[in-house]
């Protein structure tokens, strides 16, 4: 009984992640698994799918000026609904049925790290 009480207390004090009850989504890991195939492992838009046949240039997330034009909501919407939601190519898939909200937010945060920018408000 006292062991359960201590675990509950630890969870309250340290938060769920510290006690292993739940873990925050890992943006870097998600990016390497889902996004790097087109955007490249460093986010420069040069993944293995970008052959001579690829009809568009996947976004280079390290281009700070371009990424600053986008709000977090813009990025979130494209991740969830795919390129066409922003009048971009359907080669950017809609990931909304694959990723949960936490994972999408983790990816938005990771892209902000790659561009070293905060983007426009909104």
């Amino acid at each position: 009984m006292s062991r359960f009480f201590l675990m509950g207390l630890l969870t309250l004090i340290l938060g769920p992640t510290a006690t292993g009850v739940a873990q925050a989504a890992d943006g870097e890991k998600l990016f390497q698994f889902y996004c790097a195939q087109c955007h490249g492992t460093e986010g420069k838009g040069d993944g293995p799918n970008v052959t001579g046949d690829f009809p568009v240039d996947p976004r280079n997330f390290t281009e700070t000026a371009e990424m600053n034009k986008l709000s977090d909501a813009d990025i979130r919407n494209v991740i969830i609904d795919g390129g066409p939601i922003a009048d971009k190519s359907p080669m950017m898939p809609p990931w909304g049925k694959t990723l949960n909200d936490d994972e999408v937010e983790a990816l938005v945060r990771h892209l902000r790290q790659l561009c070293n920018c905060t983007g426009k408000a909104g």
């Binding site: 998600l30 698994f33 195939q37 087109c38 293995p48 359907p90 898939p93 049925k97």
Partner: protein, 222 residues
Amino acid sequence: MKTLASTFLGLMLVAMATVVAIARADAAAGKEVFQGSDCQSCHYTQGPATEKSIDDQLAKKGPELWYAGSKFQGPWLQAWLQDPQPIRPMKFNSVMEPNPGGHPALSADQVGPVTDYLMSLTSDAVKAGTVKVKKKNLKGRLIFIKKMPCSGCHQFPTKKKFSGGLSGPSLVGAGQRLNPDWVLAYLQQPKVFKPVKMMPVFVGLLSDKDMKNVAAHVATFK
């Protein structure tokens, strides 16, 4: 006349039972070869899928085979096991490393039983005869090339040779390799087969009819 008919029927039943018994025996022998040849160090054959995280998926060294009999076409599988050429342009689970090839080949006496064994591994999620394959499926083609990003990750045959991305398994020759009903089931129930995968989930984005068209289009790939 009646006696002749019943004798013929009896012989037919005996013949059918013998064929089934031989197939079972071959599958059992194939299982022994499979397990004795270290195939299981890369391919698991016990379903259902248990992967729950990216780490679980990345821990796998090769594709799971617990539904191989639903996924593949037997004649293709038999030929491939004797002369295995890379299906994925990139190494399994790798984004940047090209597939080095070198999958072990089976000998002529091993390949029949192992094919029988793998073809005996099926999934109830795949319903036979659901996808109607014709020479062309223009609706499926439109989805594959333009509406959805399938071609961004999968190579496919074109008039010149082939086109498409490299991160997913190549679909060149998919008409001979894959069971169209499995392709449909994979699109409709991805979590049954690969709970965590690099390919997006299209459930809720494509209708059942769209998915059938895509599966029928993939079945035309030579």
